[in-house]
Amino acid sequence: MNMTISVLLVEDDNYKRDAILSVVPENFECSVEQSVATAVRRLSRDRFDLIILDMALPNYEKKDNAASGSSQPQGGVDVLRELKYLKLDSKVIIVSQYPGIEIDGEFVSLNESVETLNSRYGVSVLGAVVYDFEDDSWVADFNRILIRE
């Protein structure tokens, strides 16, 4: 019997969220949060073995006819900062539709971002995957990271 892995998926895009949930192994017990705020609160409450993290996230979830706050191309970075602040050792996989992210004002390719984020924020990012709605090759990349770890 496989051991259950607790997973927090932080993703605000419904299509992408469903796509990711459809490829995670069965023994992964997934919780989903859709904004930085809810993710931060969840992390202060629950422990997760793995966090699957989108980098472009709104600060708050959008409610009916309401604003979600300013757009946050690097909202995921705030989640990583929180991990460090809470001294959590959860592993992280980044799944982003963008090939690069901005860290401290510098654009870094997604592949290079792993090392940069780990050293900059003292977190355990296992890898970064470029998500593509059409091309399923990201799934192989995603699984490769899971198997490796």
Partner: protein, 996 residues
Amino acid sequence: MISLSSIKSKKTRNYLRGALSNDNSSIVQKTLAAARSNLREDDVSAFAKILIENDLDTLVYGSAFPEKAFELFKNWKSFDPLPLEIETNIQLERLIRNNEQISSIVEDIVTLNEQIIGKYYLAAANTTVQIIDSYGYSVTIVRKLLYINSQVENKVSDEDCARAREIVRSALENIFSKEVSLHLKSHTGFLVDLFDRRSDVFETIHAQAKLNRAHIVNHTEGSNTLSLVYRSRFPCLRSVIQSDASFYLASCCSAVDVFFDFLNMSLLSSPPEAITKYFNNHFNKDLINRLCRNKDSFNILINKTETSFDGADIYKLTSAITENELLHQVRSSLDSQIATRENIALETDPINQALFPHAISLTKLSVPHSSKRLNVSRYNSASDDTELRSFAVLHCLNKGQDFRNLNPGEIRNMLGQTSGFAYTLSVDEVLHIKERGEEIDSPIISFLALVMLNESDPSDDREFDLRKSFETLLISDYSGKITHFLDWLNTRTPGLCKAVVILCDIAFLEKLYRIFNSYEEVLAERHNICAWASDILNDPYYLSVAEQLAVDEKIRNIRGELDDSRIYVDEIRFKQWVVENQAVSLRRYQRHIEIIGDINSTHGKQTELIFDANVSSVNSGSIAYLIQSLIESFEEFCHNRIFGIDSYLSRRIRHGTLVGQLQSPIKKQITEFKNSNISELTIAEGENLDDIYRQYSAIVRNLKDEKLQFKSDTKSGGLLNSSAFSTNTRSRILASVQQNFNNALGKGATVGQLADEFPNICWFLIENDLQQIKLEIERTFTSEIKPLLRKVNRIDPDNPKWISLYRELDNTAKLSFDEIIRWFNKPDQSSMSVTIKELAEVVTIEINDHRPESKISYEIYDDHDVRVSGSAYQTVYDLFFVLFDNVAAHGNAKQPINITVGYLSTDSEDISLNITVESKLLSPEDASLLLQAIDASTAVELDNEAMVREKGSGLGKIKSLIESYPGNSDYSWDISSTLYKTEFSIPIILLDRASA
């Protein structure tokens, strides 16, 4: 164009890159402040040029030609000066850029000085006012006004002097506004402190200040403060402040004042090289010498220096008459005065003895521009040693050091290392906190220490620590209520309390993730904080912010009705950007228009020239300012990461929603079809379906990646073009410019009103591209998708299930593509659909907020409310606003006023509203006044800035609507009421009544 790569320091480069790519002006300001504080000497020139070229310098230093007097002071608190040489080089670039205007204003000042010397005060008053009109405010010019006033105020029998006094007083009243008073209270406390504690030294100045302000002190609160601050720029005071020349350079946003500071320093014994070069290369020496060209002027300068002329005048005088026999007399006289004051100041003040031992040894004129700055401004915020020590204590707390045995030397060192913050949290208070059972690392102490440290040395990491510290503090002690914390803090340390209020802007609050559950809560708390600051700190600025937030919230609620799928630009933020970034260009354009007269008769030829040339390089001609402003604004409209179209595209298209919307339903139908027919399908049929889906996906991807984008080097097929002046749009831009601006300028529109026109123009510019996109989506569906899906039918043309699948796919694709086409319709605010009752509610809230003394309530007399949309929405909204506002203005404020709205007719497309205003204490006279006011409001444009700002052309709309109403006489106020009731009916045609 200077490239970022020319900056050698990676840190500075990153800061600049961040500033250039960010759209939040407060973040940009912070980023630039950090860039300045980390600036290396070898990067100064490139840094300055990049600042100037990208118009970022106004964000740092403010406008070079401030249109409002309070702008002169707004940067004073936040500046931590750079070494003089560095600051000088940055300012040098600013002066060179504005050299033409500065040369012109210096010529005017020469004339002005001559008029003052000749005692032609009426002419001088007119010249001064004219200079302000043309070039905005400067400390220099304000001081001239004060001097002229001091000369004419008692000469009542002289007709010219009397007229001059009227002109000057009028100008001074404008300057000593509440806004100025507010800014002074907020930002220049250190100067006031400095002055007050050294009033013995500045006795003469003080006396003169009292004399000068006597006539104005009754006009507005705080004018005395202003007088003192203006005088604080006198050279004698400056010499006491010693090496604060750099601070002054950085803090005076007015280019005129920078010029005079340069002139001042050029006469010192070892001026920065850049300053000497500036005057040699960019300025007419004769003009400078004319500032102080004869003996009479010298005598007047000596006698009246402290109220009339700039230090530059004095020093230049001494320089200009180098061969003159009076030189040594001048020098020794000035040296003597300054030396005396300086020594008194430094030697009698124990704080100075402690903190500035080396300053005491400085010699008068020859040393004060040392690059090492003493941070006098910060030190002097502390009134005694206890306060200084308290800062050191806090500093120790943050550093984890033991603070109990600090000696004065250690305190000094500490303050010197940290730029010196000195708020009024005393050691006793710190210890009191500790005695309450809180340890040194209590949330309060660590938070306050971080506030101070972040202020002196901001960084991402420090701000993160600050937020987490604040979260902990609020959760542990204040139930998440920031105002509760402020209540406490204000009783202990008002200085820090104010710093926390300033810190808690929306960007900061938004990231207190553990405190707030939604963005609405963030906005509400910001509103609470501003209301608190307005009330407790008695700060009207925060009242205005709170009011604006309240209005924003209501507008946001109304706008919640907007379809989120539509292409969208946040016009409020865009217009705000225009006001903040294009005010100078628009003002210049307006001035040119005023000078050359009617735009229609003059700008055609210029425009042709501009468009024949490369428009972006044109720097002359009235239209050039406007065109350049349009180019920059349109670029933001398209690409701004917060409110631009590109952010919409990113959200809706690049981020996958479009692809998902177009592909998912098709993929789902094909998958279901295959699953339900799995036993009957041949391998070839299955592969055929897969192949059709792949082709479908390729078409969608091509549409997304190649077409629905802005044209760029990498996306040459993009159908959106952010270049406003491509050939096919030129004529439309001109038409737009003419239509939108000529009338507005003719009516003396404000920058804010001009900014209101920008969204329409930008939508106009992008309209053709949006149309192209819609056509391209249609074409893609018709020419590529339909033929492709037809292949499904051909797999087995005789089999109904394939026909059925084809029809389903075709129908689904058609619906999806039609939906995508609608995304690219220009959003129309009039598409909002709300009920009459909702509108009445919003307006009532707005009016009651706008007029806190009013107590308006409303009631809708009808069982079923009517929903309106389109232009009817705007019309009814505007109508309610005018009516309710006037009722509030003219009704009896002490009693509630009830307004009822009933429907005379709701059956047809026409809706007639019957509006009744009822108040027990609304007498016939009041009612008559009210009706007259409403009539006046709707018959003519109100000259009411607040109303115009809020409502734009709403009143005009109502006016035209009423005028165009058949018979016109239907628009009449029927006072058929009793003594206590006023009733009138307004029939309105609601052309865009929404379907039920």
